[in-house]
């Protein structure tokens, strides 16, 4: 288990480094950063001064390492527009996004796993068709459109929930549903397929041959194995959702990283954008790692690798 963990950790580190390099080069992909800061039509001297001030005149490699060393110490530089250290802004917003993500994945799991299991236990039944409908609708409908539909009915028409803000728990209900529904189909289909496959396996026949009751067969012997791939998928989907929260947070004006990203893009605030992308990527890498470790924990056969 230790060797396995170290190996996966090593891979995670490499991925994180690569991501940091790509994130850093964002500055240059989007054109001359000095001009971007100074604004179109600025005087040449001003641009030059800005270039010196932010160190854009240094060799790129040097700039990258300076930035990386800073980032490792939690120093992402200063925001161009907010006039304060980026790190502080990120750490203030991160918990909001993580909370939204956690609520969303919880919603997805609570909906997807029971539906997937029921659909597998009774294939082609009413439950199965209902699950299929949920999946098709979830996949066909863009999340922003679903979010707007929620706003229209729950927010405007029935006035059940507040539409914008992130101060009260009620603020998180619609965003969590909108974000969670987006990943429900994938989790549900994997659960259904997994349970179906496991139920036809030889060890389920053994469990029944022992005289175990259907519920014991399903919960102890089938679910335990069917859930393994669902766990790693959920971890990955959680990461995806953090990215997807840019749209949802913007719609509901939730003060998280996603909304901050949207604001930073509008203000061409590169250090903030870099920091957000890097933070989300590292979290994504960590979640994938967590998924792998949970997998190994659940599947004894993986523990040796």
């Amino acid at each position: 288990m230790l060797a396995f963990t170290l190996k996966r950790l090593g891979v995670a580190l490499l991925v994180a480094l690569t991501v940091s390099l790509i994130t850093f080069s964002m500055i240059y992909v989007s054109g001359d950063p000095a001009i971007a800061i100074a604004g179109e039509g600025a005087r040449a001297q001003d641009i030059e001064a800005i270039r010196k001030f932010y160190g854009f005149d240094r060799p790129i490699i040097e700039q990258y390492f300076n930035w990386l060393i800073g980032a490792l110490q939690g120093d992402f530089g200063r925001s161009y527009t907010l006039r304060q250290p980026v790190a502080g802004v990120i750490f203030a917003r991160l918990p909001v996004t993580m909370l939204l993500g956690a609520l969303a994945i919880a919603f997805a799991l609570v909906l997807a796993i029971p539906l997937g299991v029921l659909a597998a236990v009774r294939p082609n039944s009413l439950v199965d068709r209902f699950a299929l409908t949920v999946a098709v609708v979830g996949q066909a409908m863009p999340s922003f459109w679903f979010a707007l539909t929620l706003v229209l009915w729950l927010g405007v028409h029935w006035r059940l929930l507040p539409i914008t803000g992130s101060d009260r728990w009620q603020n998180f209900v619609m965003p969590a549903i909108a974000l969670g529904y987006y990943v429900t189909p994938a989790i549900m289909r994997l659960t259904r397929a997994g349970v179906l496959e496991v139920l036809s396996s030889d060890y389920i026949r053994t469990a029944r041959a022992k005289g175990l009751r259907p519920m014991a067969v399903l919960f102890k012997h089938a679910l335990r194995n069917a859930i393994i791939p669902v766990v790693s998928l959920s971890a990955v989907q959680f990461g995806f959702m953090l990215g997807g929260s840019i749209v949802i947070e913007t719609i509901f004006q939730i003060n998280g990283l996603g909304y901050l990203a949207w604001e930073s893009i509008q203000r061409k605030d590169l250090p903030t954008m870099q920091a957000i992308v890097l933070t989300l990527s590292v979290i994504y890498v960590l979640l994938t790692l967590l998924g792998d470790l949970l997998n190994a924990f659940l599947d004894p056969r993986l523990r040796v690798a």
């Binding site: 053994t206 022992k210 005289g211 335990r224 599947d299 004894p300």
Partner: protein
């Protein structure tokens, strides 16, 4: 429990039928099979692949695929009818009074739980015992089925054991509740040849020691000759011949049985691991209605009458056979005098 010998009928199967809906129609996998097993007896079921041996065993255990339909005139375990029993009643009997050992040791254990957990579970389900007692019983049986350092194995996962060890675990699991009947479906087919005989002998030994009824489905005629009390030969969903091992080996009456035994006519002379002889042709399709002798298409003695009507299972008494030696062949009396034609068997 160990050493307690009881006599009496353990399993009675009468006119067992299993059908399966398939795209091409209805597959008649088991077509009126009857047999019985007493305590301390070993019934060996032999026959080529696809003859319905596995489905027969699964039908007794009520573990058939959900699409399969089962009917039986009688299906009784220790005098209790299984045919009409509900799901719950059957579940109380399975793993308790009857247990099954499967053909696939590599995949028959749950990869997520330890050997100990899976063994104990069988006892905990049917007996009012604590985990500690269940563990003791598991340990005792692991040791009994010849697993070295059993205590350590209890905490291991299936993937840490070889196929042979896993099948021994399956045998131990079947014994957890001290069943009256064990059904073993080709328990060694998937295993290395070198350990096949060991496992089969182990089964025979345990069957004697615990005085159980054993239904052994096997291809190993050497073992059949050695351990079978009685033999049932299956062909295309039917029992075509049944009798004591002695009768079947010394006076096989059905042309199919004679084909199977062609390489090993005398019990005792058969070497371990001898394979069934090869009979030209293939098992006919079991889909749709059939008439006449199922073996007619491959039989060297086939006559016009063979294909005309259903052939009953009758005693071979008139040829000097025993009362319970039954044959499904209208020409068996004529054939008995003939030497087996050499073209019937390609070995």
């Amino acid at each position: 429990m160990p050493g307690v010998a009881m006599s009496g009928r353990v399993l009675t199967v009468e006119d067992l039928r299993v059908t399966l809906p398939v795209p091409a129609g209805t597959l008649h996998a088991v077509q009126g099979v009857s047999f019985h097993v007493d305590r301390g007896e070993t019934l060996c079921i032999v026959g080529e692949s696809g003859c319905g041996k596995t489905l027969t065993a699964l039908a007794v255990m009520d573990l058939l695929p959900s699409r399969a339909r089962r009917t039986a005139a009688r299906l009784e375990l220790e005098g209790q009818s299984l045919a009409g029993a509900g799901e719950r009643a059957i579940a109380d009997i399975r793993g308790n009074r009857m247990a099954m050992i499967f053909q696939e040791p590599m995949t028959s254990l749950n990869p997520a739980y330890t050997i100990g957990n899976q063994l104990e579970e069988a006892l905990l389900r049917h007996r009012r015992v604590g985990r500690k007692q269940a563990r003791e019983r598991a340990l005792y049986l692991l040791d009994r089925v010849g697993i070295p350092s059993a205590a350590r194995r209890l905490n291991q996962y299936p993937h840490q054991l070889s196929g042979g060890l896993r099948q021994r675990v399956m045998i131990a699991m079947a014994l957890m509740c001290g069943p009256a009947l064990i059904l073993a479906d080709e328990p060694t087919t998937a295993l290395d040849v070198t350990i096949q005989a060991q496992i089969l002998h182990l089964l025979a030994e345990l069957q004697r020691e615990f005085a159980m009824g054993l239904v052994l489905i096997t291809h190993d005629l050497g073992i059949v000759a050695r351990i079978a009390t009685r033999v049932a030969v299956m062909y295309a969903g039917q029992v075509v011949e049944t009798g004591t091992a002695q009768a079947i080996f010394s006076a096989p009456a059905h042309p199919y049985t004679r084909g199977l035994l062609a390489c090993i006519p005398v019990p005792g002379k058969t070497r371990r691991g001898d394979r069934l002889g090869t009979i030209p042709g293939m098992v006919p399709s079991l889909i749709g209605e059939m008439r006449g002798c199922r073996f007619a298409g491959r039989c060297p003695y086939v006559a016009g009458a063979c294909r005309e009507s259903e052939v009953p299972l009758e005693t071979g008494l008139e040829t000097g056979g025993e009362q319970d030696h039954l044959v499904r062949c209208i020409r068996h009396a004529e054939i008995a005098g003939l030497a087996a034609p050499s073209e019937a068997v390609v070995s």
